[in-house]
């Protein structure tokens, strides 16, 4: 039923109107959330929760605060360096593990041992072995952001249609070509989901490292500062910073989705 409805929808409504309707729905969703938040804050339903209006006003203020913007830039730099590195590390490894089950089996124990180790616990180690600090930050980001890409690549590769693989093999292509020309493109959309997961993890990790270690700026260091405030004031600052983190994630994700739609046009069959 839903399927016929969407198919029909595609046929009749003009694309620009459909897009407008979509943005309207986006706006409605956000508005409802903000309204609920405002009510929860104003009515004192949840005490100490700063109302949406107060928090958002602070969010806007931060946009004009050069100190904050510098911190934001520093966090984004670390994240922007870390994400491509994580992709470069995790995708090949995932392809290898996905296509050669023996290797996967042999390394599973160590992979599964490493994955649940909180990066926060590794901060001292990274700080000691990687200098300057930005390197330690990036190393931790790569460590944490690699897992979702790795696992999604692994599962994506396993989901490749064997008939497609056999087709290429039958033309005499070697394993490398099969991976490059069939496994990778066929798993690409799913790998991309992993990358989108990783993108927010890079942000989260950059902030966490800064928050724990303090250090040379970044949103995390800004959070330390914010937490020296008192009561509701501190809360407003913390929430405003979190909202910024969320907004940045939203923007990054939108960009990634755009790229995804470009890359995988064939998927909208």
């Amino acid at each position: 039923m839903t399927i016929t409805a969407t198919l029909a929808g595609r046929g009749r409504i003009s694309p620009s109107r459909a897009r407008l309707a979509k943005y309207l729905r986006h706006a409605t969703g956000v508005a409802v959330f903000i309204l609920a938040w405002e009510l929860a804050g104003r009515t004192g339903l949840i005490s100490w929760l700063p109302a949406a209006s107060t928090s958002l006003a602070r969010v806007a203020q931060l946009a004009a605060d050069p100190a904050f913007l510098a911190d934001l830039a520093s966090t984004l730099t670390a994240a922007a360096v870390g994400l491509p590195l994580a992709v470069l590390v995790a995708v090949p490894v995932g392809l290898l593990l996905g296509t050669v089950p023996v290797v996967e089996e042999m390394t599973r124990a160590i992979v599964e041992f490493l994955r649940p180790i909180p990066s926060v616990a590794l901060i001292p180690l990274a700080m000691f072995f990687f200098q300057p600090e930005i390197n330690a930050k990036v190393a931790l980001i790569v460590y944490a952001a690699s897992w979702p890409i790795l696992i999604n690549t692994l599962y994506g590769v396993r989901d490749v249609d064997p008939v497609a693989t056999e087709t290429l093999r039958s033309f005499g292509f070697g394993p490398g070509a099969v991976i490059w020309r069939v496994s990778l493109p066929s798993a690409a959309p799913f790998i991309f989901t992993g990358v989108r997961l990783a993108a927010s993890i890079t942000l989260i990790l950059a902030i966490s490292v800064e928050y724990v270690v303090g250090g040379a700026g970044g949103i995390g260091a800004f959070l330390i500062q914010a937490s020296t405030g008192i009561g509701a004031d501190a809360m407003v600052d913390v929430i405003a910073t979190l909202v910024w983190a969320g907004l940045v994630g939203l923007v990054v994700n939108t960009l990634l989705l755009r790229a995804e739609r470009r890359l995988f046009r064939w998927r909208h069959a």
């Binding site: 700080m127 270690v213 303090g214 914010a226």
Partner: protein
């Protein structure tokens, strides 16, 4: 950090990275920066906000950070675990009445310290100054302060001190000012006991530390740092308004609140004897396993 640059005083290095916790403890540091005391000594100081010295320990060890502000309790813990060898190069902050204490709600059934039996107390760190200064008071009231016995300590972020107290998530919170005043004014909370009184009166809180290696390698730089800090410390000790004015510039404490804040004291000399009190308390309450002699850790001004 490399030295370099013009170096009139023969300093080993002129660029310093200082770790500090943004609070009243580090007010003299910012006074020194603001008034150019470091510049006078040929030092170029950069600061970094940190949460606790443990987190930046690797940076101190590998030399990317020079000096850190740390609570005596923390530095002594690290010292006794053998992770790093520290020297104190300057004192910073010392307890005073009214600024540190256990806060309870207005309508709380807890009227005296003994009522805390079986209750949950919020603190900023499980092995921090709060617990260390509360323990003697609990002991006097006949309670066993060993964690898990008569008292449960719960780590609560400072941001949530007031909320946790008001919501009843914990029965009491150990606070420092300005939270103490804020809790009194906003929540009508009361101070059950001042933890900088009686057995813990005027206990040293925080001081400036550097690694033994650093001190050995940079004696002149250290001297310059000490001289600059001493000047600022003097101002803080004598001119309260200098402190309350500088506070809002590096913390989120509003100027109005800062003006009425209860402050600790800013000692102008490093005294092994005073700090030994902290070490002894730590041994007594199991913070560290064996007795530490503080005197060799003190490096007083040279050249």
């Amino acid at each position: 950090t490399s030295g370099g640059g013009s170096n009139a005083n023969g300093l080993e290095k002129t660029d310093l990275l200082i770790g500090q916790y943004p609070g009243a403890d580090s007010a003299p540091l910012f006074i020194a920066i603001e008034r150019g005391f470091f510049k006078e000594q040929g030092l170029n100081v950069k600061t970094e906000a940190i949460q606790a010295p443990q987190a930046v320990l690797p940076k101190l060890s590998n030399g990317s950070m020079d000096v850190v502000l740390g609570s005596y309790a923390t530095i002594l813990t690290i010292q006794s675990e053998g992770l790093e060898k520290f020297k104190y190069i300057a004192d910073s902050y010392q307890g005073a009445a009214g600024a540190f204490g256990i806060m309870v709600r207005r309508d709380s059934p807890i009227k005296k310290v003994a009522d805390l039996k079986g209750k949950k107390i919020g603190v900023n760190a499980l092995k921090g100054l709060g617990v260390l200064t509360m323990n003697p008071h609990l002991k006097i009231a006949g309670l066993d302060p060993t964690p898990g016995k008569d008292i449960q300590y719960v780590e609560v972020p400072t941001t949530n001190w007031l909320t946790a107290l008001q919501k009843g998530d914990v029965d009491a919170v150990w606070m420092t000012d300005p939270y103490v005043s804020e809790a009194k004014n906003k929540l009508g909370a009361t101070m059950l006991v001042d933890t900088m009184s009686g057995p813990t009166e005027s206990l040293p809180i925080t001081g400036w530390a550097a690694t033994e290696k650093w001190v050995a390698a940079n004696p002149k730089t250290m001297g310059a740092f000490q001289r600059a800090m001493a000047k600022a410390q003097n101002i803080a000790a004598t001119d309260r308004s200098a402190v309350t004015k500088i506070l809002p510039t590096f913390t989120k404490i509003p100027a109005a609140t800062a003006a009425t804040i209860n402050l600790g004291n800013y000692p102008t000399t490093l005294s092994a004897q005073r700090i030994q009190r902290v070490a002894d308390l730590m041994v007594e309450y199991g913070f560290i396993k064996s007795k530490i002699d503080v005197a060799p850790m003190i490096v007083t001004s040279q050249g």
